[in-house]
């Protein structure tokens, strides 16, 4: 469970990234955060694995306040939170297997990892993970030989190999075309259901949010302006979150094509 209690975050340059955030995310939920560019979606998500550090309030992950975590605690926290990025962030020159095994680093001793002596079951897990996102035949290809959608699937496999309790995804489909976007979201949703991994995804496409989320959190200028189940969300809700009427480019489209 993740609990934001009056969380605020002011960046060193004075920008308020988060203002008095209160939210509780229960285990197994699939939450989509929506909001305009600069609303604070990334800041919200990155606070949870402390890539950024809130400056006020308390942020509980599994009932422990993580705001004052340091190196050791921090690595332990991050080991149970997987993260997926817009740019996949694979090591381009390494092969797929090595990239996926990198998800295991938090569980692997330093010496073992330096010599790439991963345990047999870790390598098995990596292969299983690749199979789950249907990219196992590329296991020995270099990452830069794959298309964007394939790279994102490898990065999902990397997160699966990590065996996390939570998955954070910061705009995972922003660089992909509509059919590939749906494919990636479908995998995320499937993993969420099958493994009961709490998943928080930043999206700025309204239709995708509606299609995949259990719950939507709307942000504007660092604040939560909407928080509720998808069943309560209508076009009007989005207009309130965005503070303007909905446009063509707020939609990803292509739901049928996938």
């Amino acid at each position: 469970m993740i609990e934001f209690n009056n969380v605020g975050l002011v960046y060193p340059n004075g920008t308020e990234g988060l203002k008095n955030i209160n939210a509780t995310i229960k285990d197994g939920e699939f939450v989509v955060i929506v909001g305009l560019s600069g609303a604070g979606k990334s800041t919200f998500i990155r606070s949870i694995n402390r890539l950024v550090t809130p400056t006020s309030g308390s942020l509980l992950v599994d009932s422990e306040d993580i705001i004052n975590y340091h190196s050791g605690d921090l690595r332990k926290l991050r080991t149970k939170i997987g993260m997926i990025f817009q740019n996949y962030n694979l090591v381009k020159r390494s092969n797929v297997l090595k990239n996926v095994l990198a998800g295991r680093l938090g569980h692997t001793g330093t010496l073992r990892s330096i010599f790439s002596l991963f345990k047999k079951e870790d390598i098995g897990l990596a292969y299983e993970s690749l199979k789950r996102v249907n990219i196992d035949e590329k296991i020995y290809n270099r990452a830069d030989e794959l298309s964007g959608g394939q790279q994102q699937r490898v990065s999902i496999a990397r997160v699966l190999t990590q065996k996390p309790k939570y998955i954070l995804a910061d705009e995972p489909v922003a660089s992909l075309d509509p059919p590939t976007s749906h494919q990636v979201m479908t995998y995320l949703k499937k993993i969420n259901k099958e493994d009961n991994i709490t998943t928080i995804v930043n999206l700025h496409f309204i239709d995708m949010a509606m299609e995949y989320a259990d719950r939507i959190i709307g942000m504007r200028a660092g604040e939560i302006v909407f928080d509720g189940p998808v069943s309560e969300v209508s076009e009007k809700t989005f207009e309130e979150i965005y503070g303007r009427s909905i446009r063509e480019d707020d939609l990803r489209g292509g739901a049928d094509e996938s």
């Binding site: 890539l51 690595r75 993260m83 694979l90 680093l105 938090g106 990892s113």
Partner: protein, 266 residues
């Protein structure tokens, strides 16, 4: 066809124009002054060049094949000096580069110190280093190796640190986010991004060092330079021809091999 009208270019300010003119004038003045003050007797210089031309050049093109064995051995020593020197430099340059790169060690102070060390090392010309090491360790190939090593460390360190600074830090962040520690991040996010480029530059530097080590022998630091100095003192231009031929062949072959290898790596 539609014509586009670009917005007007920003005009250079008067200050900039004046500055440019002044700099140009200063450079010209500097040239004139230098040439006037070094006092060359052009007539004599040209006359001498022409007369020596006749005595020297044809002999250079008529190599002394009898010296081939000796020259080859000497050339081999030169290659070894260059290789040992650039290898040593590549190893030394890595920690200095990590120190100097602003996105590693996590501190502006470290990076500034590292950059200072590297520029200080780069400030010494190879020949001066060679003279210093000949004095320090005696007139042998080891002095040459050390001179090459130190001379190359400065440049390689600077190159390496720039390579490190250009890596994709988001990948580093991705590893941080999955709980990897600093050493694991080094091995899984940083090294794969920098090693091929490091290698490529080390090989390139080896190419340069072959040339540098060919002349180090002139100050007694081993290699083929020693033979150059003897041949020229003895006016043995045929042997000099053999030596030059050896250098040209080796440098060409290594240039070729190096560019082939480097294009494979990166």
């Amino acid at each position: 066809m539609e014509t586009y009208s670009l917005p007007p270019k920003p005009k250079n300010s008067l200050y900039k124009k004046v500055k440019r003119v002044i700099i140009t004038l200063l450079v010209i003045a500097l040239y004139v002054w230098t040439f006037l003050s070094i006092d060359i007797d052009w007539g004599r210089a040209i006359e001498r060049a022409i007369s020596n031309f006749h005595r020297v050049i044809p002999k250079l093109f008529n190599p002394d094949w009898g010296a081939t064995g000796e020259v080859a051995l000497s050339m081999l020593e030169t290659i070894f000096i260059a290789f040992a020197g650039s290898l040593m430099a590549a190893v030394l340059a890595i920690p200095l580069a990590f120190l100097a790169a602003h996105n590693m060690m996590g501190g502006k102070i470290f990076s500034t110190i590292g950059k200072w060390i590297l520029s200080a090392v780069r400030a010494f010309p190879d020949l001066i280093l060679a003279i210093l090491f000949v004095v320090a360790v005696g007139p042998n190939a080891f002095a040459g190796v050390l001179a090459i090593a130190i001379g190359s460390t400065g440049m390689l360190g600077k190159m390496f640190s720039e390579i490190i600074e250009s890596i994709d830090m988001e990948i580093v962040q991705a590893m941080e986010a999955n709980g990897a520690n600093k050493i694991q991040i080094l091995f899984y996010a940083v090294m794969p991004q920098v090693i091929p480029e490091f290698l490529s530059f080390a090989i390139y530097r080896f190419e340069i060092d072959i040339r540098a080590s060919s002349i180090l022998g002139i100050v007694g630091a081993g290699g083929i330079g020693t033979m150059i100095i003897f041949a020229s003192n003895n006016r043995n231009w045929n042997e000099m021809g053999t030596i030059l031929l050896a250098i040209i062949i080796v440098v060409t072959v290594i240039d070729f091999a190096s560019s082939r290898i480097r294009s494979k790596i990166v």
